[in-house]
């Protein structure tokens, strides 16, 4: 399949700060490629390099051409922290961007797609944060692009709006639109992306299908048992698995769902009480934490604390 987007050994520095350090990736027609990574990892710089809005070393091609030479009708961009004219209505804003292209979709149809039909005549500054972001997404959709580049499109959008936008993007991908999306929401990347690229310190540290990333880097499943546990607890439990304790929570790794009953029996046998018990499969967030070393877990636990407990050498 032909590559819509190609980046080879892309490098960009700002003074002594290296924003991109030899990033290579590609995307084919209809593929959804998600970029995740900590703040400052280089996601936005990579988006700018790919869209030709910043100069970078290396090779970047869209549809076989340099980004600045490609037919601009084929690209739809939502920049990060994009703020359009604040005293124009959502309809006026989308119509304004429509007026810049040769061929566009119907303005009202695009507004309906992003769920703004009822507020189309409200000035942008009077829309809620989520409605504002959806208006911005609409400006990227109006030219019916073949390549849609969205830099954190769902930031500030409520869960229902996010779901609706995901469905819209999935529909576009089904129609053959290539979508490059950056996000801080791992759930979003896992749900939408055919492949996920993980950036850290300007380098692409992983690029694969979400399930492959999870299998390779996500680690074991976790049985999280909340109570008043401490490090001596680990020695009281006769169960053949790796365990850690942090802030009163006992975590047992690699427990299969059908084995949870056995763990409960062991807790009872050891005379240990607990408040709640949660089983969790590894997911993209675990991959993110493992590969970026950002050190904050799902429950706000420092990652370093998880690795430094009695359970072993995870």
């Amino acid at each position: 399949m032909t590559d819509v987007l190609v980046a080879e050994d892309v490098r960009r520095s700002y003074g002594d700060t290296v924003a991109l350090d030899g990033v290579s990736l590609s995307a084919t027609a209809g593929e959804v490629l998600a970029l995740v990574g900590p703040n400052g990892a280089g996601k936005t710089t990579l988006v700018r390099a790919l869209t030709g809005t910043t100069d970078a070393d290396g090779r970047v091609e869209l549809f076989g051409e340099a980004p600045t030479a490609v037919d601009r009708d084929r690209i739809g961009l939502l920049p990060q922290s994009f703020t359009p004219h604040e005293r124009l209505s959502a309809r006026e804003l989308v119509a304004y961007y429509a007026g810049l292209y040769d061929e566009t979709r119907d303005v009202d149809a695009v507004l309906a797609d992003v769920g703004l039909s009822d507020t189309a005549d409200t000035h942008y500054e009077n829309l809620s944060g989520g409605q504002q972001r959806r208006t911005c997404v609409a400006t990227a959709l109006i030219n019916d692009p073949d390549l849609l580049v969205l830099d954190e499109p769902t930031t500030g959008i409520d869960p229902a709006g996010r779901q609706a936008l995901w469905e819209l993007l999935e529909g576009l991908a089904d129609q053959g639109v290539t979508i490059l999306v950056t996000t801080h929401y791992m759930e979003e990347a896992q749900r939408l992306a055919d492949r996920v690229g993980l950036l850290a310190d300007g380098r692409l540290v992983a690029l694969d299908a979400p399930e492959s990333l999870v299998a390779d880097h996500g680690g074991a499943s976790q049985l999280r048992i909340d109570g008043e546990f401490d490090e001596t607890t680990v020695g009281d439990i006769d169960y053949p698995a790796e365990m850690t304790v942090r802030n009163g929570r006992l975590v047992i790794y690699g427990v299969r769902p059908e084995s949870i009953g056995g763990v409960v029996d062991e807790l009872d046998a050891a005379g240990l009480s607990y408040d709640s018990l949660t089983w969790k499969q590894p997911d993209l967030e675990d991959v993110y934490l493992a590969l970026t070393g950002t050190g904050v877990g799902r429950a706000g636990e420092p990652k370093a604390a998880v690795t430094a407990t009695a359970g072993g050498s995870r």
């Binding site: 809005t53 601009r72 920049p79 990060q80 922290s81 005293r87 804003l93 007026g99």
Partner: protein, 246 residues
């Protein structure tokens, strides 16, 4: 979409955005009024007497017009560039068919209309309040259009080079105020030192040309030609400097 269509879309958005900022609209049109009231009514011109305002009222037409032709594009375009940059709008526009010269041309068109209206109000007030004997020649139009284009270009440069909207305002005031008084507008050249090079200021050619046209006396073509060259260069440099992202 043709270039004309893109210009229409950008101009429509820019004019709506301006007209809905009521404070900006009010002061754009109130500014000429207070300038004429202060200098034309309170200070008054005293032909034959000593001091700054010693010429007939019509002599000061270029000065009053320069107030809007100079200040409004500098501050409006400069601020608009800063707003666009802060909101990442240029990054978005860089991926649309709209080019940077087209963007600046659209801003120039909107400013020309706004300043044209403000200029008409100003000239009307001069006639009514100061009794100025002004020739309303159609040749005033190219001078105003070229002056607006010139300072829209300078405003684009300031907006692109200044790091913030506050910086744009400070820089535009720092440039506009000296230019206003050292370009043969309100201050006749004989009140300045003989060595002072008023010919270096592009606004001088606006003043000379507008004065020649509005009083039916003096050279018109040379000021028009120099102002045209300055406007083209300024517009080209301003459009080139407009940012994409960083």
């Amino acid at each position: 979409m043709s270039r004309l269509g893109r210009l229409q879309s950008e101009s429509r958005a820019a004019s709506r955005a301006f007209l809905r900022r009521r404070t900006a609209v009010f002061f754009t049109f109130f500014f000429p009024l207070i300038i004429v009231v202060i200098f034309g009514v309170l200070v008054q011109t005293r032909p034959g007497g000593g001091g700054l305002f010693t010429r007939e009222p019509a002599y000061y037409v270029p000065g009053y017009l320069a107030v809007v032709v100079l200040f409004t594009p500098l501050s409006r375009v400069g601020s608009e560039v800063a707003r666009h940059r802060d909101g990442n709008r240029f990054e978005k526009l860089a991926t649309t068919p709209l080019t940077r010269p087209e963007w600046l041309l659209a801003q120039t068109l909107v400013n020309t209309v706004i300043i044209g209206l403000a200029g008409l109000i100003l000239l009307g007030l001069m006639v009514v309040l100061t009794g100025a004997d002004i020739v309303f020649s159609p040749l005033l139009v190219p001078f105003v259009v070229l002056g607006v284009a010139l300072f829209c270009g300078v405003g684009a440069m300031l907006g692109s080079l200044a790091s913030s909207q506050d910086g744009v305002i400070s820089a535009s005031n720092g440039i506009a105020l000296p230019l206003l008084f050292l370009s043969e507008t309100f201050v006749p050249p004989e009140l300045l030192p003989a060595w002072f090079p008023t010919w270096l200021s592009p606004l001088t050619y606006f003043s000379r040309g507008v004065r020649a046209v509005s009083t039916s006396g003096g050279e018109v073509l040379v000021p028009l030609a120099v102002l045209s060259v300055c406007a083209v260069v300024s517009f080209a440099v301003g459009a080139t400097l407009l940012p994409r992202t960083d």
